[in-house]
Symmetry: C2
Subunit: 147 residues, 2 copies
């Protein structure tokens, strides 16, 4: 159960460059090397890479991920810091998801608008569909006519 850097790259969706970069940055400590000096990635390493993806994908910087790793390595005395970190990360993620929902509404409205405009051939869509004004105002606010 050991992967070369290329195999680990495919498994994780990252490039070999990135994996070496992460190791250089201290995000992948304890990567074994075989007798020829090649890195050997374990399943644990792959799992950890997936955790990195999760934290990175929810907006955590590599620097903060490194902090988390330091807490992991420090053992049971840092359980509360780690718990708090995940709680904060959850709040951040909730806000982010709310924001994306708002963006989704805007984009959906734009699609509605442009679908009508594409049929008509021009952007004067509100005249034929005055009911859109209500929705537009709810999503974009009073003084945003949405071009």
């Amino acid at each position: 159960m050991g992967y070369t850097i290329g195999q680990a790259a495919k498994k994780s969706g990252l490039s070999p460059y990135t994996l070496r970069f992460y190791e250089k940055e201290g995000l992948l400590p304890n990567i074994r090397k075989n007798s020829a000096g090649l890195r050997v990635f374990s399943q644990d390493d792959i799992n950890w890479l997936q955790m990195i993806e999760c934290l990175k994908g929810t907006g955590m910087s590599l620097k903060n991920i490194k902090q988390y790793l330091a807490w992991l390595n420090a053992g049971n005395t840092t359980i509360n810091q780690r718990l708090q970190m995940f709680q904060e990360q959850k709040e951040k993620l909730k806000l982010q998801m709310q924001l994306l929902n708002k963006y989704m509404e805007k984009i959906n409205f734009k699609i509605k608008l442009y679908t009508l405009a594409a049929q008509k051939g021009d952007m004067d869509v509100y005249k034929a569909n005055p009911e859109l004004e209500q929705e537009r105002e709810r999503i974009f606010g009073v003084d945003n006519p949405v071009r």
Copy 2:
């Protein structure tokens, strides 16, 4: 109804530096200047900044936002391109939201785990709560014990 760069910065949540940078990059064409040479931001400019935020926030690069702006300025002949752009952006956003939901599950599980660990004082949580194994396996996969 005109704002200084400082006021526009507050309204948009961006810094004056960023607003000047955006103008320099061609993302804010037609910003007026008053007799003293100061920029005057209109409500339309603020609205456009909010659209930029939406596109940027859903992962579009400034370069692609500039492309969209070019289509806007080109008039009705580009309605289909713009419609397609928003449709693609919507697909991207849907994937992103799915991903964030997965990350939320992972983070919630971690919070559950660390909450128990914090009570116990150590990480041997599965022994006292073997039902967690099921959930862990569903969220993280078979060969990921989740440290």
